[in-house]
Symmetry: C2
Subunit: 335 residues, 2 copies
C-alpha cells in the first residue's frame, strides 16, 4: 500500500530515472538493471499512480459520457451508439450517471478530469459547460441549444416531430384530440410543436384532456386513469402521448377501463423505443434515431479532439411510423 517509484528504485538500487525508463520503455537502461527493476517492482507490488501521471502529462486518457441514467431502453440505445464509435477508435470512455434528484455533478466533469465530454443532463448549467470547454476538453451536448468554439450541440428535432404528429392527426381526419405532455426542455419543445400544429390545422384539442406526465410510465398511467374516472369527460378520438412509455401506460389504463385501442380511441406515441413495435396494439409513433444520436455525438467529439474542429450544431430528423394504435374512422373525409 503506497509503494512509489522511489521505493522500487531504492529496492533495485538504481535511480528513479532508470526505474521510470525501464517501467515505461521510455529511455535507455542496461539489461541487467532493467531486470533488477522489474523484479523489485514485482516484489513490492508496485502500482503506478495514474493520478500523478495525469498531473504530469495533463492528459487523462479517456473521455466522459454524462447522462441521467445508464439503464433503460432509451439510454441503453444511446450509450450503445457512443460505445460502438469510441470502441472502434480505441478511445477510452467512462460513463457517469448524474442523477437529476441529487443534482450532483461528478468531479470528473466539474474538475475537468476528462479529455472530452458528452453531456446529456439538463441540470448541468450552460455556465459550467462553457467554463470547462476548451481546446483540451471539447464538449458535445445533446438536446440543448448551446454552441461555442469548443462546444458542439446535437439536437433531435423535437418541435418539428411533434408538429408532424399534429399534421398527421389532421390528415387522418380526426375530429377531437387529447394529449399527454412531458416535462423539461424536451417537454416544452414537443408541446410547442404540437400546439403550433393544433393552431395551424385548427385541430379540436379538448381543453380538459391536456394531461401532464414526466415521460415515464407511472405518472402517465395515473393521470390517464384519473381522467377516465371523471364521468364528465368524453373521450377524444385520438390521444398524442409525448413518449412511448407514456403511450403504452395510457393504453393500459384505457383498456383497464374497458376501452379498446384503436377502436374506441387512437394513440400516437413518440420515440419509437424497441418495445413500441412489440406491444399489442403495436404503437404508431415518431421514430427518433437514438442509436444514431449516440454515434454522431461520439464521432463529433472525437473529431473535435483529433482535428481541433470548432463546435458545430447538428439536427437529426425524425419520421412517423404507422402501426396499429392509430386508425381513423374518418380517413379521407374533408375536414
Amino acid at each position: 500500500m503506497g509503494v512509489t517509484i522511489k521505493d522500487v528504485a531504492r529496492e533495485a538500487g538504481v535511480s528513479v530515472t532508470s526505474t521510470s525508463y525501464a517501467l515505461n520503455n521510455s529511455g535507455p537502461v542496461s539489461e541487467e538493471k532493467k531486470q533488477r527493476i522489474y523484479d523489485a517492482a514485482k516484489k513490492l507490488g508496485y502500482v503506478p499512480s495514474g493520478v500523478a501521471k495525469s498531473l504530469q502529462s495533463k492528459k487523462m486518457g479517456f473521455v466522459g459520457y454524462f447522462a441521467y441514467s445508464l439503464s433503460g431502453p432509451m439510454f441503453g440505445e444511446l450509450i450503445k451508439g457512443v460505445e460502438d464509435v469510441f470502441n472502434c477508435y480505441s478511445q477510452d470512455m467512462v460513463a457517469c450517471c448524474c442523477s437529476p434528484h441529487i443534482r450532483k455533478v461528478t468531479r470528473l466533469l466539474k474538475e475537468k478530469m476528462v479529455d472530452g465530454a458528452i453531456v446529456f443532463v439538463e441540470h448541468i448549467e450552460d455556465e459550467l459547460l462553457t467554463r470547462i470547454a476548451s481546446e483540451d476538453c471539447p464538449i458535445v451536448v445533446m438536446d440543448r441549444d448551446l454552441t461555442g468554439d469548443y462546444i458542439s450541440s446535437i439536437l433531435i428535432d423535437n418541435q418539428g416531430s411533434a408538429y408532424e404528429v399534429g399534421r398527421y392527426i389532421s390528415r387522418q381526419g380526426f375530429q377531437s384530440v387529447g394529449c399527454i405532455m412531458g416535462n423539461g426542455y424536451d417537454g416544452e419543445q414537443r408541446e410547442k410543436g404540437f400546439m403550433d400544429a393544433v393552431s395551424d390545422y385548427r385541430l379540436n384539442l379538448q381543453k380538459d384532456c391536456i394531461l401532464r406526465g414526466d415521460f415515464q410510465a407511472e405518472i402517465a398511467y395515473e393521470v390517464m386513469k384519473q381522467w377516465l374516472m371523471d364521468k364528465n369527460h368524453v373521450l377524444p378520438e385520438v390521444i398524442f402521448a409525448a413518449s412511448d412509455e407514456m403511450a403504452i401506460s395510457a393504453i393500459q389504463a384505457l383498456e383497464e377501463c374497458g376501452y379498446k385501442v384503436p377502436q374506441d380511441v387512437s394513440i400516437i406515441g413518440m420515440d419509437d423505443i424497441p418495445m413500441a413495435a412489440m406491444t399489442k396494439p403495436a404503437l404508431t409513433t415518431i421514430h427518433r434515431p437514438i442509436y444514431e444520436l449516440g454515434r454522431l455525438a461520439a464521432t463529433t467529439l472525437y473529431d473535435m479532439m483529433q482535428n481541433h474542429t470548432k463546435g458545430s450544431r447538428q439536427i437529426l430528423s425524425t419520421y412517423l411510423v404507422e402501426r396499429e394504435s392509430c386508425v381513423s374512422r374518418h380517413k379521407g373525409e374533408p375536414i
Copy 2:
C-alpha cells in the same frame, strides 16, 4: 486555458493559501479578500484541477464499475442494480466498458484511479486484481472465484442451476436430450453442472447434439441450423440452451425448418432475460437475479469501503420458471 490557483492568487493580489482557503471554505479569510478572490476566479475562468486535488488527497471520490458492455438487456439490468445502490448512498461511480477484443483495461483500474471497483470482465487477470486491491481500493468481482482480504466475490450458482435443468428434464420424463453450450468461465460452469446431472440421472444425451455457441444469438442460430441440415440427425425431445438468447435463436432456427416448439421439441433456456417472458412460445428457463446481483455487488463494495470489512464470498441462487417452451409427453411415466 490552464488557469491555476496561482494565477487567481496573483490576480487577486493575495497568497495561494488564502485563495485555496477562500475557494474551499477551508480556512480563515477576511470577507474583503474573499470577494476579491471570487471575482478573480470568475474573471479568469478558473477551473480547479481534480487531478492535482486527488494527488494531494489520495482520494478519487468515485468508484469504478468495469463490465464487458454497458448496453443490452442483461447489462442494463445489472448496472441498474449498481446504480440504484450507489445513488442512494450518494457514492459517485463511473462505468467503463472493457471490450474483450481490444483487451484494453482502462487506466482507471490499472493505475488505481478509483476508490473501489466492481469488476465483471473475464479478461482482467486475477494477478492484476490482487495487486490493485488494497485497503484504499477494495474490489468486488462477479462471476469469478477470487477472494482475498480486499476482494469479495459474488457468484450466481451457474453449476447448480445447470444441474437443476438436468434434474428437471429427468423428472419431466424426457427420453432424449440435446444442448447448446456457451464459452468462458460461465460456459464451463454451466456445462459441468449439466453434465453432472446427465450422469447422475442417466439422461440420454445425444452425443451428436452437443452444440457450442458463445451465449449470443448469432452463432447459436448458425450451429442449430447447420445441425438441422444434416439428415442423419434425429431431433432430441428437449434441448437445453445455456442462455436465453441462444434458446430464442435456436427456436427461430427450428421453426424455420418446420419444427414446432414445444410440440416437436422442447427448449429450456437460462438467464430469464425480460424478453424470455414475451416470446412465443414463452421460454421455460432458469431465473438468474441479475438486478439483485448488481445491488449486492454495490452494497458489498460500499461496506468494504466504509467499514473496512474483509473480503467475502457470496452465492446467489436461482430457480426454474416453467413457461411454454418445454412440455413433456411422457410426464409422470416412470423412467
